[in-house]
Amino acid sequence: MTLTLAALIAGILLVLYALFNSGKKQVMADTPTSKVRSVAMGFAELKGVAKPRIMLVSPYAKLPCLYYKYKVEVITDSGRHRSSRTVREGESGSPFYLDDGTGRILVSPKGAEMRLTDRVQSEDPPEIITEWSIRGGERLYVAGTVGKLRDFTGADFDQAAHYRQELERLHGLLADVDRKPREWTGPQAQEAARDRVRQDIRQLEEKINSFSRETNGDLGEEIAVGKGTGEATFIISDMSEEDLAQQFSYSNALAGAAGGSLIIYALWTFMQG
């Protein structure tokens, strides 16, 4: 009885998931692609190339990128049974540009459904680290709400704060170089590492100065694409619209068929008795 009820609930949830996803696919199909130079406020679909506002470095693979997302899972292997548990996950929130040849617009990635194929996986037992990223020059599909950056929930429009955070990180790194002399093969290697971090700090300080001159440290008034309050769909993907729609179709068909089968099984079992 409990198993049948569980099957019924799981079936209903799967069907609902398929319906919700088919809604997203329909929204994509119903929305023509806008050009950046003439995009109107509200929900829009844009296609273009990712361009940096500032360069980030992904935390594990150390890749230069514009956006990253990571997940750290711990694998427990009891001989017969192998399972994984997510222990840490996170993503960057810094906006980047999307350029479609007619103009460029900021993209605030907070709250986006990321469908990325650019993925790096590494194993550091018992941990498995998966990292997704968007790199400069990658072609992107973005469907979201166009508005002012400060209107988006969780948007990282205080770029100056982001720079300060990055500066703190670099100072921490410099302190680490001094604190752990054993990690270096000799005083020369340690000095070279110290020089590299100092150079990064100098470059970042220059960037902060020029950024403050250009924008008074505030990006909030800039037009951007983000997660709107009244619109559920906000997708960023490095796949083409066609591939993305196909991916949605496959997962919908799978979820719908599995959900339907579970519901039929549960109802059949109930009827049997």
Partner: protein, 189 residues
């Protein structure tokens, strides 16, 4: 067991109703997209018409003998302000666009005006607005194409007929604007 025989048809009816609601909501969304994309063109057209009096004022100071062109432009603006239907708006737009084209071509003969900072700024702004209007017309036609396709497809066509949705007109470029431009090479004796 008996409860199930009652529950099954109710479940089937609820699923059917939910499906019809889903189809109807999808039609509403594409219809609203068409309306919104038309309204978004009008917003930019208004901005363009607001720049016209300033442009005419600057040009008037330099181009004393181009009254015909100015008249065409100001008449188009008056027509736009009075227009209440999309076709009347489109007529005014065509007249303005043709007037502006003539004006910007004639400016070549007035180097002082061409060098004037305010004129260059206005010309740049109007050209940018025209590009954006052209993009939004294209977007409007895409939205209409999605809508017209949808209401012609089964099962949407039944719902569309039930709720009185009918095909929408696309923004048409007049035939004279699609004809090749006649270029006359000067320098003859």
């Amino acid at each position: 067991m008996e409860m199930l025989w009652i529950a099954l048809p109710v479940l089937a009816a609820a699923t059917g109703l939910a499906y019809i609601v889903k189809l109807y909501n999808e039609l509403v969304r594409v219809a609203v997209n068409v309306e919104k994309s038309w309204a978004n063109i009008t917003v930019l057209e208004k901005q363009r018409y607001e720049e016209v009096p300033r442009l005419v004022e600057i040009c008037n100071a330099y181009m004393k003998y181009e009254r015909g062109t100015f008249l065409k432009i100001t008449q188009a603006r008056a027509q736009f302000l009075e227009a209440t239907t999309p076709s009347a708006t489109a007529r005014a737009d065509r007249q303005l666009e043709s007037g502006l084209k003539t004006l910007f071509a004639t400016v070549e003969n007035y180097p002082d005006l061409k060098a004037e900072e305010n004129f260059r700024r206005l010309q740049g702004r109007i050209t940018a607005l025209e590009n954006a209007i052209a993009d939004r017309r294209e977007f409007y036609n895409d939205s209409v194409a999605v809508f017209n396709t949808r209401i012609g497809q089964v099962p949407y066509t039944f719902i569309a007929g039930l709720f009185g949705y009918s095909e929408q007109d696309m923004y048409q470029v007049p035939p004279e604007e699609t004809e090749p431009v006649a270029v006359t090479f000067g320098g003859g004796r």
